[in-house]
Symmetry: C2
Subunit: 464 residues, 2 copies
């Protein structure tokens, strides 16, 4: 027993020396390549024995944190330790971390069914409009094919986006619309514009998983507000505003991801009133807008783009291969956003902008979208019924879109199920990947458009 | 005199109260929308008179920092003050700040001559290859037109880039190559990966101005190392490494922007040796590679992608309208970079990747490039001679590329000249926009491909 105590004591002294050196490296008072204090001088200053320092240095060298140069001493390793998303914030089970579904879905072969992914199969998109658009572009002026886009983005496309926003009750002049490389890049740009590392942002719980990954990359604290079938829970929202003092709320309102729910006018009003009282900015991500038959309330419409910023893209109904998104925001913010856009992405993607403009301006796209809505409606109904047969029950009846957010049979864990499905080459979307508070282990998001293959249900049945 | 002293004393007390409130707002102990302490209580705690606090609050209200709600008190304004690039780092003359040239060039009409911009006129790019590529793409598989790119990016394009890097002495397997939305986005992604706010980065002085804007957006301190016709000044570089402890060095080596200089093998060796000793990572931005007749030494080639990361794009010789860049880096870093790419940009631009692959694989592009090099050589010679006639003297004789970095006639300030030129609708690139230490007021970067219009020389002559 005595020996053990002595050994523990010695261990903790070695640990102390190791921690001291690690801290100096982390705090950059010891930079890569610099020489560590001599064994003797550190032993003196920390009041430990020379052999303790020798042992601590040996262990740090074995870890690769420092290197020994015989005859010269110990040096901080010059290996770089880059910033990984995994290293920021709490450890997460990789199978349900916010990036798992994205990576599985994006890496999977085109032919593999992906009920967990957030996009339509290629064959559901307006293929003929895309081919026609590319042919049109092949005959366009040489500047359209070769020059950078303008800082704001292609003017005719911005005018067209302005008109489309108007149809959903959001008034925005073309000068209030800034084109970006994608919807994700739009939010990324806004995070740079509005946030400082360490700030808090409210997201819905559950919310689109990539919001969490993106905020993590910005070193932002996330507060999850429970989402109800009518929008965020107002009581919880109020508490977060008071206690956590967030700067920003990021949400989808028309078609919520992952739940498919729609914000009610009453909740929209209360969210905006609270935002006003607490100096909160809101980003309304409206990338599913084209799925709606009749527009639901938009926070940006109620607010008149005062403190709400709307973002959108064309990846869900036009093409995910053509990158283009946009920000609609108050006029005074556009200048600063342009500077940031140039600094971090330089010129816009003029070819994508030209192509998207050609397709949006074509009547074929509108007709395709109408047919798509009906097709999705049927798919939600059919897939919903088949899932119910398996004991998987939709949490709400979405008015639009491709998602069904479902409760699994009692006791089933969606992460376990996703792991089992992957062994069958099936990518699922476990609930906790969407939940900042990890409160959705019993839920799963299904993409009805990716479930037209009988095999999907066979696999689900076999692993349930 | 006594009155004056009393007034100054009172003023400084009011200033103290104002500073106290401002500090609490900045430190977020007073958040937007929250109530300020009552006049009486603040007067008590700061030991000033009530009238001092009343005056301080009135002034803060006049500034818009706080608002008065009659009958209720004063509240922190809920107006948001977003982060602008201008607000980070020292104030700069907007006419020569790092974004000025980018914005002027990108905003200018296609038809306006832009000797200050960093790209070729559309008519110098491979128009026929682009048109052919678009026609080919219009007949491609539906997935190529509609699906997200894979996380690493299109495999055949990565293999092709790997072969092209090999021709320049940089060995990289396709798995070490990550496609990005652009060269700028490649560097942006690497900054997120490698840097923390407050870190120091070395750039060449002069360097591509957007490096400075990008680093500013990341809240990075910049150290400028004087650039010689053979590469960075090694003595100054060593001093910076010792005194400023930078984490990263960003440079172009084959064709340096703005000088057109080429790194010598001896300087390359010494840079890498110092990088190794000081744990420095190097980003080698090689977007002008296609301009070279015979490849100059590459840091990434010497180093074997150990601590050098190479980035590139196709915007200079293929098209600036088609956004696509790449990162070639050591294998272990690619995983973390993919996570960051997905979090901040989601899927890749598959259509751009497919189009660029089609064009690179076509023999027409290679032939066009050969002709382009000769055309640029002639333009450098002709424009150089005409500039010399005006007393504007190239600092070095570039082996390749579109830039001439020139010394103006004695006593002329390039920012003044750029302002005068803009009044004639001519976009120039004043030297200090490229200089972290503002040491290049007497220099100007000229793009010879944008100076084929007689009018440019007429304007230059008239404003000199």
């Amino acid at each position: 027993m005595v020996d053990e105590a002595v050994r523990m004591e010695a261990t903790s002294r070695i640990g102390l020396v190791m921690a001291t050196i690690r801290q100096r490296i982390a705090g950059r008072s010891l930079v890569p390549g610099s020489r560590l204090p001599s064994v003797r001088s550190l032993a003196g200053s920390l009041q430990v024995s020379v052999s303790t320092v020798v042992e601590a240095y040996s262990r740090l060298a074995a870890e690769g944190a420092i290197v020994s140069r015989p005859g010269s001493g110990f040096y901080v390793a010059t290996q770089v330790a880059p910033m990984t998303l995994a290293a920021i914030g709490p450890d997460l089970d990789r199978a349900i971390d916010p990036l798992w579904i994205s990576r599985q879905s994006l890496e999977a072969d085109d032919a593999i069914p992906k009920p967990g992914c957030g996009w339509l199969p290629a064959t559901w998109l307006p293929e003929q409009s895309l081919r026609k658009g590319l042919r049109t572009l092949s005959r366009a002026g040489v500047e359209a094919l070769s020059n950078y886009g303008s800082p704001l983005g292609l003017a005719p496309l911005r005018r067209l986006i302005g008109r489309r926003l108007g149809e959903r009750g959001v008034e925005a002049s073309p000068d209030q619309i800034l084109l970006t490389e994608s919807g994700t890049q739009a939010i990324d740009l806004l995070c740079r514009f509005l946030l400082e590392p360490g700030d808090t942002v409210v997201v819905d719980d559950p919310c689109y998983f990539n919001f969490q990954a993106l905020l993590r990359a910005h070193r932002i604290r996330v507060a999850g507000v429970p989402y109800t079938p009518n929008g965020p829970d107002i009581e919880a929202f109020t508490t977060i505003l008071v206690e956590r003092r967030p700067r920003l709320y990021i949400t989808n309102s028309a078609v919520h991801n992952p739940t498919g729910a729609t914000l009610s006018p009453a909740v929209a009003h209360r969210v905006l009133k609270l935002a006003d009282q607490h100096g909160l900015v809101v980003i309304e991500d409206d990338i599913f807008a084209d799925f709606e038959h009749t527009p639901a309330p938009r926070l940006a419409g109620f607010d008149g783009l005062e403190r709400v910023i709307q973002i959108g893209s064309f990846s869900k109904t036009l093409s995910a291969a053509v990158r283009c998104g946009f920000i609609a925001a108050r006029q005074e913010w556009i200048e600063g956003l342009i500077d940031l856009k140039i600094a971090t992405a330089f010129g816009g993607g003029r070819l994508s902008e030209e192509l998207i403009h050609a397709i949006l301006a074509d009547s074929g796209f509108r007709k395709h979208n109408e047919a798509l809505r009906t097709r999705l409606e049927r798919a939600r109904r059919d897939v919903g019924a088949r899932l119910r047969d398996l004991g998987i029950v939709p949490w709400t009846e979405p008015r639009a879109g491709m998602f069904l957010w479902c409760r699994l049979p009692a006791g089933r864990d969606s992460a376990d199920l996703a792991r089992a499905a992957l062994a069958h080459n099936l990518v699922l979307a476990p609930g906790n990947a969407f939940s900042a508070t990890q409160a959705a282990a019993g839920y799963m998001r299904f993409n009805v458009a990716q479930m037209q293959d009988e095999r999907t249900f066979e696999i689900l049945r076999s692993i349930l």
